[in-house]
């Protein structure tokens, strides 16, 4: 018999930055003053990525602009993010977790699930739960002692309840949420606290007089299905603590792949926009080939300086993983929707992925093997000598990066992003 631990780092980016700075001889602990980790304002990435507890007291939220955060708290300290450091911290935490159980699922950069097997001969019950709490407390203390930051550990019979448990009260806590504890610990919470319930769903549910998770759990699932269709049934199951997903260390199946970037300057001409699309295509197509897939649908997203967003997508007649062909399609999509307004954000996505081993070719399209050979060679060079080892000549004297998008732009490793499902 087993249960699931969910380990969540408290104010992850800020804690990691604070601990690293203390190790490097800094006299100030960022966690004890009003401070935030924020992007570079000159590049127009000036938003709050993480905040300290004193900064939270000023009403600063993650995702708001640094300008507005400074207005709320005039003496606010802003430090730039260091994603390489965060990967290092995350890996060190997972290494400690792997001393406790062999099966660990990294859910995001600062969250992971652990499959905890009850001691032999122990059946689920108060004794087994106490053993799990003891182990979780030891794990939490070891992370704090060795790595210097605090975590919350949630314990539950499945991933959903473990995740809900770790959110209960922060920081540096161990919480349990077993099925018999749901009426007391989970059901009184507001419905938007439930995993998978966002702002829009919560608003709809409030419209039906459902304000707490308990009220959602007690509602007839047929009614919920009428109101919210299939996702409604999923949140009803979650409200009742039902989740059948397993802790797995296998990579999640990729359904779509994309990259986007907020630009350092407003783009007003077609040639620059096409160059940016090429840069995004280089990154996205390389990632697509790495997972050995071809894309059948290409989509482009544009956001104007007035923050109006538009998308456009088209199905390809022949699936492809060739950078140049994807870029040509992206440019056509761009030309279809661009109304000459200045652009501050551009993105592209590839979806409806299929295997790159066998796919239907068309009689009416060129299928040039040399394209595949070229991409394969470029990928191999980048993998061996770094992503900047080889890039297109049009980027050589250009302010545009040759490979845009992604968190760790100079490295080939994938930054673990949170999935929207367990």
């Amino acid at each position: 018999m087993y249960c699931v631990f969910h380990v969540d780092v408290n104010s992850a980016y800020l804690s990691w930055e604070a601990v690293y700075r203390l190790q490097q001889g800094d006299s100030v602990d960022l966690r004890t003053i009003s401070s935030v980790v924020g992007g570079n304002e000159a590049d127009r990435h000036g938003i709050v990525l993480a905040k300290s507890i004193p900064a939270k007291k000023y009403g600063i939220h993650t995702g708001e602009t640094l300008h507005s955060a400074r207005q709320k708290c005039p003496g606010l300290m802003v430090v730039p993010p260091r994603y390489g450091l965060y990967m290092q911290c995350s890996e060190a935490m997972v290494a400690i977790m792997s001393q406790y159980a062999p099966l660990i699922q990294r859910y995001s950069i600062d969250e992971a699930f652990l499959h905890y097997q009850f001691p032999p001969g122990m059946t689920p019950g108060p004794e087994a739960e106490a053993a799990a709490v003891k182990t979780a407390t030891r794990l939490k203390a070891q992370i704090r002692q060795e790595l210097g930051f605090t975590v919350n550990v949630g314990i539950g019979p499945n991933k959903l309840l473990a995740k809900m448990a770790s959110e209960l009260r922060k920081p540096d806590q161990v919480h349990t949420l077993f099925l018999h504890e749901m009426p007391e610990k989970m059901w009184p919470l507001p419905v938007q606290e439930l995993f998978f319930v966002g702002r829009a769903t919560a608003r709809k549910l409030r419209g039906y007089n459902i304000f707490t998770i308990g009220q959602l759990a007690a509602t007839d699932p047929k009614l919920i299905h009428c109101w919210l269709k299939k996702p409604g049934l999923l949140i009803w199951q979650y409200a009742n603590g039902l989740d059948h997903s397993r802790v797995t260390d296998e990579p999640v199946p990729v359904k779509s792949i994309g990259n986007s970037s907020t630009l350092a300057f407003d783009v007003t001409d077609r040639a620059t926009a096409h160059q940016i699309l090429l840069s995004l295509c280089e990154t996205t197509a390389m990632r697509l080939r790495k997972i050995r897939r071809c894309a059948q649908v290409v989509s482009v997203t544009l956001r104007s300086d007035k923050l109006i967003t538009c998308h456009h997508q088209r199905r390809l007649e022949v699936p492809t993983d060739v950078t140049s062909l994807i870029w040509q399609e992206a440019c056509r999509l761009f030309d279809d929707i661009w109304q000459k307004e200045p652009l501050r954000h551009m993105g592209m996505h590839l979806s409806d992925l299929c295997s790159n081993d066998y796919y239907q070719l068309s009689l009416f399209h060129q299928h040039l093997e040399k394209h595949h050979q070229l991409d394969k060679t470029i990928d191999a060079l980048r993998s061996r000598f770094g992503t900047r080892a080889v890039f297109r000549g049009c980027f050589s004297h250009s302010p545009i990066q040759p490979l845009m998008g992604g968190v760790l732009q100079d490295q080939e490793v994938e930054y673990p992003m949170m999935a929207s499902y367990l």
């Binding site: 203390l22 190790q23 001889g25 210097g148």
Partner: protein
């Protein structure tokens, strides 16, 4: 002791287990760039341990040396990821 975290040049001896042992270091105070750098012989290593806050592994040495006829205790750090030595505290 004051925290300096000042990068230093070090002559070290690596044992057969791969553990470095500082023998001598050269230190130039940041606030006195025109002064001659001080060369210090590490007389004794009192304690040694490894730390890894934020996953960054460092070897920490508490050492003792005679400087200007005074016996002083201080801490050196060796950062494994960058192979850099620091005078951490004195």
């Amino acid at each position: 002791m004051k925290v300096w975290m000042h990068p230093i040049e070090v002559i070290a001896f690596f044992d057969s287990q791969g553990l470095p042992r500082p023998l001598r270091y050269r230190w130039q105070a940041k606030d006195q760039p025109h002064h001659e750098p001080v060369i210090v012989k590490v007389d004794r290593i009192l304690q040694q341990h490894e730390e890894k806050p934020a996953g960054n592994r460092m070897l920490v040495y508490r050492c003792q040396s005679v400087m200007h006829d005074l016996e002083r205790v201080y801490e050196l750090k060796y950062e494994l990821s960058t192979c850099k030595w620091f005078l951490f505290k004195m």
